[in-house]
Amino acid sequence: MTVTLLDKANYMISSMARLLKDAESAFMGVASFLPFMAIILAKRLYNPDLIWYSIVGYNPNPKHLPMSTVHPWISKYCDAKLQLAELFDISARGELDVVFLAGAQIDQRGYLNNSHIYIGERRIQLPGGAGGALLHATARRPIVWQGKHDTRIFVKEVQRITAAGKPYRVFSPLCIFRFDDDLGRLVVDSIHPWSSFEEVKENTGFEVNDAPPTPEPSDEEIELIEKIDPHGIRKTVLE
């Protein structure tokens, strides 16, 4: 099986989109190509009533994946104005359903570090968690994603807690985790077909379990994905 980065992105996007079938609303932050694709996919195929809160406006209807999530033309196709402050209020009120969050470091509790990491004595400065601290703590179903999977990223305990919350799912290029309430930590929900339990285990800093393969994207999904992102920008977030 030859699996390209585009194939991997498609699997992740498809699985994210299907999680949105019963979602009331979704928000994604900046630089989030995969969630951006997943939301469009979900709205077109599964859940036309899904409310999309965007940084540039309410319920945008973009035709293509832009190079920037604040690209001017996204706001042209919004149903109403929306300020970031109001989106945060929505989440603080407990009214935000799904939020997509990126994590530079993700631990078994589902906590995220986007602040800084120490390699030995050296401090590596990260950009900061943007809205994550609030959204992870208050949205109903945070979905975390990462374009890379290794033991420096998936750790037992993050060095700094930028955002604490209970993820609904965690997406990586190797597998999908879900939060197990009984165990109080992440467990593997599915492993992508190009990976294996061994590979996940080797690259994860906490205990993992075996799990069934991630379902493949449908032809319909792939077709739509290609249409929204004909130039394959989506793959640039994966390693």
């Binding site: 190079m67 920037s68 001017p72 104005k81 970031l84 603080a92 990260l126 601290a133 640039t236």
Partner: protein, 264 residues
């Protein structure tokens, strides 16, 4: 108090004293006061404290050229163009203090300042490490139900806001997303407007539903076409992705050239 007028970019930047707390309009590469920021660097301003929810080119440039001593923000990055290298290096080397927040707490601090109250209650984000580092404190909810986290007011001395249109008094219009700009305008002590064009009052009034920055705190109105470049200022121009790719690869010498090459 009333010392506002139309002036040049140089004169407007001259109003900013070293060590000032300023906040910057827009988000990432969208409607940022880029020309103003370059002029801050050209004039060699020092020790600025810079506030923004999500900074990019603007914050990075001020860090890279030694103008900033503190960044109060939730996120500083170039999005698709990778990390903000100059910001990162300056923080790692201790030349700039990154007072990390979440965008939400930056907004709460501005709200408190805008409302003239000393703090704002917020949702409980106290598991985030920076809550302690920033000194955010709990208060007992006087109506029962336990403790409530708060954020102290932060009142910027200047909000620098780049807009599409303004009149000579500084009443200003924003097309498209506001981001935190209208809130900044409420919270700051003074406002400097850089605008794609200065238009007659009557023209602005025709678009009154977009005119949300009143003139009363505006100390300078500067006409700067392409003032957000390399950022976007719709409907007039988009981001210049090529320039950003080039910028992202500049070393410090390149950066120093950049602010003189890209004018204003």
């Amino acid at each position: 108090m009333k010392n506002m007028s139309v002036m040049s970019l140089e004169e407007a930047v001259d109003l900013i004293e070293n060590g000032s707390l300023i906040c910057l309009s827009g988000n990432l590469l969208y409607r940022i006061p880029a020309a103003f920021v370059r002029e801050l660097a050209r004039q060699g301003k020092r020790d600025l404290r810079v506030m923004k929810t999500a900074g990019g080119y603007d914050v990075d440039l001020l860090c890279g050229l030694g103008c900033a001593k503190e960044i109060i923000a939730g996120f500083v990055s170039f999005e698709a163009f990778g990390l903000a290298k100059n910001f990162r290096r300056a923080v790692e080397e201790g030349r700039v203090k990154y007072s990390e927040n979440t965008c939400y707490s930056v907004i709460a601090a501005l709200r408190a300042a805008a409302y003239g109250v000393p703090f704002m209650p917020i949702a409980d984000i106290s598991k985030s490490y920076f809550v302690k580092e920033r000194g955010f404190k709990f208060v007992e909810n006087p109506y029962g139900g336990g403790k409530v986290l708060t954020v102290p007011a932060i009142k910027p001395e200047f909000a620098i806001i780049h807009v599409q249109k303004a009149d000579e008094d500084g009443n200003a219009l924003i097309y498209g997303p506001w981001f935190e700009d209208v809130l900044m305008a409420r919270a700051a002590e003074n406002i400097i407007i850089t605008t794609e064009m200065i238009v007659p009052k009557e023209d602005l009034r025709r678009d009154i539903d977009a005119v949300w920055i009143p003139s009363y705190k505006v100390r300078a109105v500067v006409e700067v076409p392409k003032g957000a470049y390399p950022g976007a200022c719709p409907p007039y121009y988009e981001m210049d992705f090529e320039m950003m790719e080039k910028y992202a690869s500049l070393d410090e010498d390149g950066l120093r050239k950049h602010i003189w090459e890209v004018k204003p």
